[in-house]
Structures are given as structure tokens and as C-alpha cells.
């Protein structure tokens, strides 16, 4: 196995990322540039950046492997990850931008006027961010181990170092250019090999993947083939987690503050819907072709299917070049998602912890180091925590905490600080306990395991109901400025009003 194209690909992506980050540095001057690119990013560029940041290791490598192993059920992941943006668009996008806050804790404090809510939100942002960063670093290790035979810790360290250099030197402004570039890189890196592989498949006259007898069961092409009631619950719980969790992911939300105004925030989200839809057409192609050409991946290393398939289907130099291409795309996926998460976590850490002692940009840099080092160390120390499962659980926690807070905070004047705290605790502890239980045990049968393994379907309604009930009970403490804040959230900027 030659590894030259893989090494070249990783080096090229790293150099390009650093170069674009340095170029973006010329535009990065103020603290506002660091946090929100001075709120001046146009919809086209911003949508590419959001797409680049959102398409993580789970999208680039995970879906194809899951489709290969479990079949049509797994198509719900990409559909849910895209539909999450539609839900975000109709309920949250414009008001969130108009709130004028930097981060989720800023929003919570501005809306409810409570330091307690702010601290709780900060802790949740850091927790969700670290939970989501962990699989990115692990995935980088797996990828480098599979393509160039490097030790697993090396990938994690490279990704962490590049992210750290970019984020601490240029902040949000330079990261916007880097991530916009990485969306198009990822799309190309998956599209070109997919076209070649489909041509090879047609040329071979090979059978329809849906008819292939090996290796799985008869239910492969059939969603919910053998799940019964539990399968139905798992699918619907997954739908709740992905549809509602997207709006609560810290690295997604922080991007909306970089739009010039609420109208631009909506248009950006619409473009994102298009970009994600195009990208998500591709991973199932790899999964289906893998069923014919790489059936042995279904019982084990399914995460490396996208990386190995070109070599298995196209012999010689062509296959090596295509492998280099998908490796580059995978590496871009780790870099961009971890950059976005690091910005979000560092933004919160620097405002709530570091800024007490340090000033503006220095605080942001120190916080950036903390944001990266902790999950990177965990990824190296515990490389065996399930990658795809951690990402799914991060969505469930986000859906159970920030989704109710945003929904009620934006659309219901009656939300109180006490209600928000109670709801965040119920959702956070409920889904958090399920996360812990799932990561520590391996049982996957029986209703208890199903309910804890996919908690969103019960933890989201529980958190929402708690917020409403406690807010009603404490309605004398509705913040005095709630009405004025509603005006700010919902009226177009062009109308001259006191906000």
C-alpha cells in the first residue's frame, strides 16, 4: 500500500488552510473581527462557511459506513441534519441575529436579565462543544491511521495544532474564508470520486446494490425492516434530536451573528439548505457501492469505507489519486468543524472566565488553547469511545437544552429566568444522564436501553413543559424589558424603533 497521495493530500489541505487563514488575517483587526467577523459577511460566503463548518467527520465518513452496515434507516441522519436548518430558518434565524448578542449565553442574559441563566448556558455550550470536538479529533486519528499508517494520536495532534494556529491568530474573520473554501473542497473531494466510481460500476455491469445478497439481511434496502415498535421509536427520536438539535449547536448558532441583518440571516440559511442538500446526495452512493465492492467493511471498519473504496474499485494510480482526494476532503472536514467549535467554545470561555483577568484578544487566545487541549487530550487518552454515537448524543443534548430556551425566548413573552433554569436543568440532566449511561454500557436491546440510547423524544418535551410550567408559576417575575426585547427580535431593522 503506497501512502504518497494520502500524505500529499494532508499536507496540501493543511498548507492551504493556514495560507487562507493568514490571508484572512489582513482583514482581522478588532475584537469584533475575532468574535463575529464584525457582522459583515454576505449570504453567499457565509452559507459556504456554514456548510463547510457543519459537514463534519460524521457526514463525510460516518454516513457512508452506516448506510453500508444498517441500510436505508441511516438515510435519516443526513435528512435530519438538513431539515434541522429548515426548522432553524423558520423559528430562529432572523430573531437570533436581531437579538444582537455574541453567543448563546449572551442571548440568554439579554433576554432574561439573569446571570444565573448565563452561567448555566456557558457551561452547556462548553459541554456540548467538547462532546462534539472529541469525535472530530478521534476521526482524524482514524483517518491518518487508515490512509498513511500513522499512529492514531498523530491525526488528533495535527488537527488540534492547525485549528489552534488559525483560530488564535485570525479569529472569526479569517476562519470564515477558510471554512467557505473547505465546503467546496469537501464537495469536490466526494463528487469527483463518486462520478468515477459510478462509471466503473456501470462499466462492470455489476448488479443493483439493493439486490446484492451479501452480507447483511433482506431488510437492507427497507427502512424499519426489522425494528418494530422500538425501531419506530428510535427513528422518531432521531428525527426530534436532529430537527431540533441543529439550532442548539454552539458552532452553528455563533455563525448567525456574523450576518449583517435578520434578512441576510434568513437568506444565508436558505443557501445553506441548498448546499447541504447537494452534498448529502453523495455519501449514500459510497454506502451502496460499498455493499458490492467492499462487503467486508460492513463487519468492522465501516468508518474507513469512503477512504478505501476508490482503491478497491479502481486499481493502480487512478485509485491512489482518488484516495488522496477523499483523504483531503476528510481532513478538511475535521479541520473546519473543529475550528467552528473551537471559536464557539473559546468565545464563551473568554467572555465568562478569561476576561476577568485578561483583555479582549489575549483572553480569546488563551480560551482557544483551553477549548482545543481538553478534548484533544481526552481523544488521545480514550480512543475507543464510539465516534458516531458521540455526535448523535451531542445533538440530543443540544435539542433538550438550547432548543426550548431559544423557542420560548423568541416566541413567548412569558418566559422567566426561573423557568429557563428549571427547563435547562431537566433537559440537560435528563439527556446528559442518558449520554453517560450509553457511553458507559453497551446494551442495545430492551426498551430501557432504547429510551436512554436515543433520549430526545422524551427529554425535549420534558424540558419544554418544565420551562412553561415554572414560568407560569413565577409569572410575577417576567423581565420588565421582555416587550422591548420582542420588538428588537421581530421587527425589521429598517423600521425606526427603539430597540
Amino acid at each position: 500500500m503506497t501512502s504518497a497521495p494520502g500524505i500529499v493530500a494532508v499536507v496540501l489541505v493543511t498548507v492551504a488552510t493556514l495560507a487562507i487563514g493568514t490571508w484572512g488575517l489582513r482583514f482581522s483587526r478588532t475584537t469584533s473581527d475575532f468574535f463575529v467577523a464584525s457582522r459583515s459577511v454576505r449570504p453567499g460566503l457565509n452559507a459556504s462557511a456554514i456548510g463547510g463548518e457543519y459537514l463534519s467527520a460524521a457526514s463525510f465518513l460516518g454516513i457512508a459506513g452506516l448506510v453500508l452496515v444498517f441500510g436505508a434507516d441511516m438515510l435519516w441522519y443526513p435528512v435530519g441534519w438538513t431539515a434541522g436548518y429548515l426548522v432553524l430558518l423558520v423559528l430562529v434565524a432572523a430573531p437570533l441575529r436581531r437579538s444582537g448578542a455574541y453567543t448563546l449565553p449572551d442571548f440568554a442574559e439579554a433576554r432574561l436579565g439573569s446571570r444565573r441563566v448565563r452561567s448555566l448556558c456557558s457551561a452547556l455550550v462548553v459541554g456540548i462543544g467538547w462532546l462534539y470536538l472529541l469525535p472530530q479529533f478521534q476521526g482524524a486519528g482514524v483517518t491518518l491511521a487508515a490512509t498513511i499508517g500513522a499512529p492514531p494520536w498523530l491525526g488528533a495532534v495535527i488537527v488540534a495544532a492547525v485549528v489552534l494556529i488559525n483560530v488564535t491568530s485570525g479569529g472569526m474573520r479569517s476562519i470564515t474564508f477558510v471554512q467557505a473554501f473547505q465546503y467546496w473542497l469537501k464537495l469536490t473531494a466526494l463528487l469527483v470520486p463518486a462520478c468515477v466510481l459510478l462509471a466503473v460500476w456501470v462499466g462492470d455491469g455489476a448488479p443493483n446494490p439493493a439486490d446484492a445478497a451479501t452480507p447483511g439481511d433482506a431488510f437492507w434496502s427497507l427502512p424499519l425492516g426489522d425494528g418494530g415498535g422500538q425501531g419506530l421509536y428510535v427513528t422518531y427520536s432521531l428525527i426530534v434530536a436532529t430537527f431540533l438539535g441543529t439550532m442548539g449547536l454552539p458552532h452553528v448558532v455563533v455563525r448567525f451573528y456574523t450576518n449583517p441583518d435578520g434578512r441576510a440571516a434568513r437568506r444565508t440559511t436558505l443557501v445553506v439548505l441548498g448546499l447541504l442538500g447537494v452534498f448529502y446526495l453523495l455519501p449514500p452512493v459510497y454506502g451502496a457501492l460499498g455493499r458490492l465492492y467492499a462487503p467486508d467493511h460492513a463487519t468492522g471498519a465501516s468508518d474507513t469505507l469512503v477512504l478505501e473504496l476508490p482503491r478497491l474499485m479502481v486499481p493502480g494510480l487512478g485509485g491512489e489519486l482518488l484516495t488522496g482526494m477523499v483523504t483531503a476532503g476528510a481532513f478538511a472536514a475535521f479541520l473546519s468543524t473543529s475550528s467552528g467549535l473551537t471559536i464557539a467554545v473559546a468565545g464563551v470561555l473568554s467572555q465568562d472566565v478569561a476576561s476577568r483577568r485578561l483583555s479582549g484578544i489575549t483572553a480569546f487566545r488563551v480560551a482557544g488553547v483551553a477549548a482545543v487541549v481538553v478534548p484533544c487530550a481526552v481523544a488521545i487518552a480514550a480512543p475507543d469511545v464510539g465516534v458516531a454515537r458521540t455526535v448523535g448524543l451531542a445533538f440530543a443534548v443540544a435539542a433538550s437544552t438550547f432548543c426550548p430556551l431559544l423557542l420560548l425566548g423568541i416566541w413567548w413573552r412569558g418566559l422567566t429566568a426561573a423557568g429557563a433554569v428549571a427547563g435547562l436543568l431537566v433537559g440537560g440532566i435528563g439527556s446528559g444522564a442518558a449520554v453517560g449511561w450509553t457511553l458507559l454500557t453497551s446494551a442495545t436491546t430492551g426498551w430501557a436501553a432504547v429510551l436512554l440510547g436515543q433520549p430526545a423524544a422524551w427529554s425535549v418535551p420534558a424540558a419544554l413543559a418544565t420551562m412553561v410550567v415554572v414560568s407560569r408559576a413565577t409569572r410575577s417575575r417576567i423581565p420588565a424589558h421582555a416587550g422591548r426585547f420582542m420588538v428588537r427580535l421581530h421587527t425589521p431593522e429598517a423600521v425606526d424603533l427603539e430597540r
Partner: protein
């Protein structure tokens, strides 16, 4: 020379361009004052936007959200094929994405129209952005 021959100095001004009281139109002042009338304007905008959002989400649930149930109740759906692709794969793997984009596009158009109507209402200016 006496002062008598000199004309009295007069300040020349044009007709007032705006009413002296109320540089800003009435409706937006009502909202700023958080009066009952202002609250009516605000709740009409909020209700309009929330109804629109709910409509889009109901459409999403009725089209995409019911699919697991449909697949559960009619497992033979995957025998249905177009160019060799089973129907569930076509629905989830391909058609779902343009449909989400259509829903988003309809929403953005209507939401911007609602905001234009609101701006025209509170500024008394039919050409308001």
C-alpha cells in the same frame, strides 16, 4: 446717517416640511411607548410570523415526518422502483432535499412580505422597505 433708513432684518424660512409635533409616524411611537395599541401592532406581526412558521413546520411533518410511519405500515413500498432505485431510497436519499429547499424558499418569501407589510403599516409609507 440714521437707523431709520435701514430695512428691518427678517429671517426667511420655507414652509415647514414636517409637522412640528411628531417627526416620526404615530404607529411606531405607540410601539416605542409600549402602549396597548403598540402591543396590538406587535402581536399582529408576531402572530403572522408564528402562523407562517407553524404552517411550514406542519407541511414538513406531514410530508417528511410521516415517512417512518408509512414505511412501517407499508413495508412493500420498497418493491416499488424507479430506474432500479427502491422508493424509500428515492424519497429519503434524493427527493427530500429539493423539497426542504422549496419549503425554505416559500418561507423566506412570505416572511419578508410580512415584514414589508408591517413596515408599511407602522411608518405610513407604502414604499417602506
Amino acid at each position: 446717517m440714521s437707523d431709520a433708513g435701514r430695512p428691518v432684518r427678517v429671517r426667511v424660512t420655507g414652509p415647514p416640511r414636517r409637522r412640528a409635533s411628531g417627526v416620526r409616524p404615530t404607529a411606531s411611537r405607540e410601539i416605542d411607548a409600549d402602549s396597548e395599541l403598540g402591543a396590538v401592532y406587535m402581536s399582529s406581526l408576531l402572530g403572522e410570523q408564528l402562523r407562517l412558521a407553524a404552517g411550514v413546520l406542519v407541511a414538513l411533518v406531514l410530508t417528511v415526518g410521516v415517512l417512518p410511519l408509512v414505511f412501517h405500515l407499508f413495508p412493500h413500498l420498497s418493491d416499488l422502483r424507479l430506474l432500479g432505485v427502491p422508493a424509500p431510497w428515492l424519497l429519503l436519499g434524493v427527493l427530500a432535499y429539493p423539497w426542504l429547499l422549496v419549503l425554505g424558499w416559500v418561507y423566506v418569501r412570505r416572511a419578508e412580505a410580512n415584514e414589508r407589510d408591517f413596515a408599511a403599516l407602522v411608518t405610513d409609507d407604502p414604499d417602506a422597505p
